[in-house]
């Protein structure tokens, strides 16, 4: 089959790098407010009915939203196999914690309101809190670690190896900059969840959400700015030597040096300033909107902020995907960590067919579910809602 040569290998690699970003953004925009609502749950709902209102704003959609995460895993496997192999085994225990949190969540949704006992329900509420807050924090910590570089190297057989024992591999992830990145992601998703609740809930739940969301938004704005300054003045980035954009996917074939600042990307490609600008303005406007009590526009601004933050990370690092701080040569980049030319092409065809369909029916589902979830909705349909 020569069909796949219609699109050049390097072009396909860039397209798949963009699609990787699209999937991460899709995940953060949709499942992001689910995590936010989960983390806010104990604080926005004081009574059982209030908590059920909060839960039922996301009840019908969280399952579909979570597929962005699963699809993200599958797409990384298909398009960036070395990234899939190195990152999930390298972040082994952190991944386990995230999985455990995510396994708790579906079960908590389904089972929480199936028994009347107070203890039963409040245990599942805390499970939802953990299922939201822990991944929201750890995803940011992971991104922070990626920016710092991860301690792995590849053998000649391209077997990924990790330095340090299991304990240091987990605790070692909690470096100061990575924790800061974790605060950014946690606070931004809290803000996003609050924006969602202010749109979908009413009364005290929405009010409390707006109050917490305002604070979270301010924290997000400040920590995002501090992280930017830290990257500019406090840490080394990575630079790729000679680029063979069409070469085989073998990370060991390229040279990587350290010492240059990540921020040099902004001098080389000034147009990427648009990403942090979106990030800052989105968060700022979401905070303003939340204080003014605007609903739809606040959620949209919050989405823009998230798009900006995620793209700023990707665009700053390009072409790096996962740098290694112990053996920079092993670092994974867009040019040497992809699938084969044919696989990238086949997967692109499938994505071009199905992604629009997914967006279409997801939009339809949200349209059907449009409108606020009220306390009456919960009490009158007590046997059928969460």
């Amino acid at each position: 089959m020569i069909l796949f040569e219609m699109i050049d290998y390097d072009v396909l690699r860039v397209i798949w790098w963009v699609l990787l970003g699209v999937l991460l953004i899709g995940f953060a925009l949709t499942d992001g407010f689910d995590m936010g609502v989960g983390a806010l749950l104990p604080f926005v709902g004081k009574t059982d009915v209030e908590r059920r209102v909060a839960i039922n704003t996301i009840g019908p959609v969280w399952e579909g939203n979570q597929v962005w995460f699963i699809l993200g895993g599958g797409a990384i496997f298909a398009a960036w196999p070395p990234l899939y192999a190195v990152s999930f085994s390298g972040f082994y225990l952190a991944m386990f914690v995230i999985l455990a949190a995510f396994i708790l969540r579906p079960v908590a949704f389904k089972y929480r309101s199936k028994r009347d006992s107070q203890a039963w329900r409040s245990s599942w509420d805390w499970a939802l809190f953990v299922g939201g807050a822990v991944p929201a924090l750890l995803f940011g910590v992971a991104v922070g670690n990626v920016l710092l570089g991860v301690p792995f190297h590849l053998t000649e057989d391209l077997m990924p190896m990790y330095d340090g024992n299991f304990f240091s591999k987990f605790i070692g992830l909690l470096r100061p900059f990575a924790l800061l990145a974790g605060v950014v992601s946690l606070s931004v998703l809290l803000m996003h969840g609050a924006a969602w609740l202010s749109l979908k809930a009413e009364g005290p739940v929405a009010q409390r959400a707006r109050r917490i969301g305002t604070v979270a938004g301010i924290v997000a704005f400040v920590t995002y700015a501090v992280a930017g300054l830290w990257m500019a003045f406090g840490m080394d980035g990575y630079a790729l030597g000679e680029v063979t954009a069409n070469g085989p996917s073998n990370p060991l074939y390229s040279e990587v040096s350290r010492g240059v600042s990540w921020m040099s990307a902004y001098a080389a490609r000034p147009w990427i300033w648009i990403a942090p600008v979106m990030g800052f303005s989105g968060i700022a406007m979401a905070v303003v909107g939340m204080r003014a009590g605007r609903e739809v526009s606040t959620l949209l601004w919050s989405q823009l902020g998230i798009v900006g933050i995620i793209s700023s990370v990707g665009l700053t690092m390009f072409p790096f995907i996962l740098p290694s701080n112990v053996d920079p040569k092993s670092s994974l980049t867009v040019w040497d960590a992809s699938s084969s030319h044919q696989t990238l092409f086949v997967m692109l065809v499938v994505t071009v067919i199905f992604l629009p369909l997914i967006l279409g029916y997801t939009a339809w589902v949200y349209k059907v579910l449009w409108g606020k979830v009220t306390e009456a909705d919960v009490t009158e349909n007590s046997h059928s809602v969460y």
Binding site: E63, F77, I103, P106, Q342, I358
Partner: protein, 532 residues
């Protein structure tokens, strides 16, 4: 690499995969059964069918939550615990997993919310369409997962690339239409349909024994037994198809399942029962039927089925051939572009057996330095554990045939005996509920344990595939999963039992309104169809 790590990784994968598959078959089958019931509701407009649909949909929901939750682990576990595998075959294996997400799982998960929350927000037809989309989504999910798994059994459409040190796809269509995958897909989803049918049958029988919800129970038995009968027949036919494809794609697995130590004259005999002895390579107290195996396995009277001893000899030959490929590969890796064409040609001629040379890595770092004894050991390693396969297979097949009998009986009673079921048969239907799960788990055991010592048959040995983690890492996650999954299982079973005991939620007013309108119509007072 220490064996301890690989064994623990295998244990963890087996445990999480088999646990996941406790929920999958019921999701596959119950989604379709619920969709059928709802279709009946849309067509007849009778509230009892709405009640039936909602009741089974609720049990579906309890099961679905854990299916989704445990499926998450599966999607990431290849990268976490099998990183060399992920690197080595991700170019092929990753594609069906991603397509599963794009094409199937997204649809299933997006619509499942509406299925539960959309009753008042959608028209009846819209809601039925949503239910069907959930069912179709979950079944398409199975298709792509089994295409991925089928490739591990029969790795078609791919070739090793020395530059990237991994397998790469050469034909997506070969991977998609892999005969092993297609047979496995129909076999597996049919098994899911049988599971759901047995479940619906058993729960309904429980109600009949208790003398309650009889309207719901009788109708449910009618649907489940008809659907279950067709599915039970399909499981056995496609199971046979899987066996037939194994006779030319996975000869060793077939020989191990049947404990065929030596090659017999065609057509080979079939061993019904016996005690396989791996050390002595013979089966004690074997009960054999002449000709049967040859006919099932090759569908001819003249073709031979190779026995284990002969296959081990072939493996040994392939190992030696693989060493030639490995030697050429090392030259290519060192010289890169400067590699003489002659060496590249040598590599291509022998690269099909490269995986066999990798079997030696268990014994020696460089397969080229392997001793004769090590080559013999590696060749012996290609025989999976015969006795467990032999027995697991026989129990699975026995259960498979018994489901046909059960379904046939209930189908007959519900179609031709006015839905009158003797009491003993109801007790039997309740008792048999766990059987399809046992059969399904044994089926996976036969399929995957029989694939050993490979993760990808003939391509990548299991011993090489695992991540370079520490035993402590594995012990932490293994303990975590066991604890966590046990608690979830207890919670899930508790809720299932609670909601089965509680029975369907009856909207009394709705049913009465319908009943009054229906009676009015019978008396000829109105021509209107009863409204909901």
């Amino acid at each position: 690499m220490e064996i301890g790590l690989v064994e623990l990784s295998r244990l963890q994968f087996a445990m999480t995969a088999m646990y996941h598959f406790l929920f999958v078959p019921l999701t596959l089958g119950l989604s379709i059964l619920v969709a059928i019931m709802e279709t009946v509701y849309v067509m007849t407009n009778r509230p009892i069918w709405r009640q039936i649909t909602k009741f089974w949909a609720m049990l579906f929901g309890i099961n679905f939550a854990l299916g989704v939750a445990t499926g998450l682990t599966m999607e990431f576990q290849f990268g976490m615990n099998w990183s060399y595998y992920s690197h080595y075959v991700g170019d092929i294996f990753g594609a069906p997993l991603a397509i599963e997400g794009l094409m199937a799982f997204f649809m299933e998960a997006t619509f499942v919310g509406l299925m539960f929350f959309g009753w008042d927000k959608l028209t009846k037809v819209q809601h039925a369409v949503v239910t069907w989309l959930v069912a179709i989504g979950s079944n398409f999910s199975a298709l792509w997962i089994l295409i991925a798994n089928g490739w591990m059994q029969n790795p078609v459409g791919s070739v090793f690339n020395p530059d990237t040190m991994r397998m790469e796809m050469t034909s997506f269509f070969d991977v998609m239409f892999n005969e092993v995958a297609q047979a496995k897909f129909v076999h597996t989803v049919s098994a899911g349909y049988v599971t759901a049918s047995v479940f619906v049958l058993g729960v309904s029988a429980f109600y009949l024994i208790q003398d309650k919800h009889k309207d719901l129970a009788r109708r449910s038995i009618g649907v489940a037994s008809a659907f279950g009968l067709a599915s039970a027949l399909s499981v056995v036919v496609l199971g046979d198809e899987s066996g037939y494809s194994a006779s030319h794609t996975q000869k060793m697995k077939l020989a191990a399942i049947e404990a065929m130590w030596e090659t017999e004259e065609a057509p080979a005999s079939f061993t019904l029962v016996g005690f396989p002895d791996q050390e002595a390579r013979e089966t004690h107290y074997a009960v054999r039927f002449p000709w049967v195996m040859g006919i099932i396995g090759t569908r001819s009277l003249t073709k031979k089925i190779p026995g284990i001893a002969e296959l081990v000899k072939i493996s040994e030959h392939k190992i030696r051939d693989g060493i030639i490929a490995y030697d050429a590969l090392m030259t290519i890796r060192a010289e890169r572009e400067a590699t003489p064409q002659q060496v590249r040609d040598t590599f291509e001629a022998h690269s099909g057996n490269l995986g066999y040379a990798l079997l030696l890595k268990r014994y020696v770092d460089d397969p080229r330095e392997a001793t004769e004894e090590q080559i013999k050991l590696a060749a012996d390693d290609t025989v999976p554990g015969v006795a467990p396969l032999f027995w697991a297979f026989r129990v699975m097949v026995g259960l498979g045939f018994s489901f046909i009998a059960v379904m046939l009986y209930f189908f007959w009673r519900s179609s031709f005996r006015q839905m009158q079921f003797p009491r003993w048969s109801l007790y039997f239907a309740v008792a048999v509920i766990p059987a399809p799960w046992i059969a399904a788990e044994l089926g996976w055991f036969v399929s995957e344990f029989g694939r050993q010592p490979w993760t990808v048959d003939g391509i990548l040995p299991t011993a090489l595939s695992a991540s370079h983690l520490t035993v402590a890492d594995l012990l932490i996650t293994l303990t975590g999963f066991v604890t966590f999954y046990t608690i979830l299982f207890i919670v899930e079973m508790g809720l299932m039992v609670k909601y089965i005991r509680k029975g369907p939620y009856q909207d009394v007013e709705e049913t009465n309104t319908w009943q009054r309108a229906y009676e009015a119509r019978l008396r000829g007072e109105t021509n209107a169809t009863p409204a909901e």
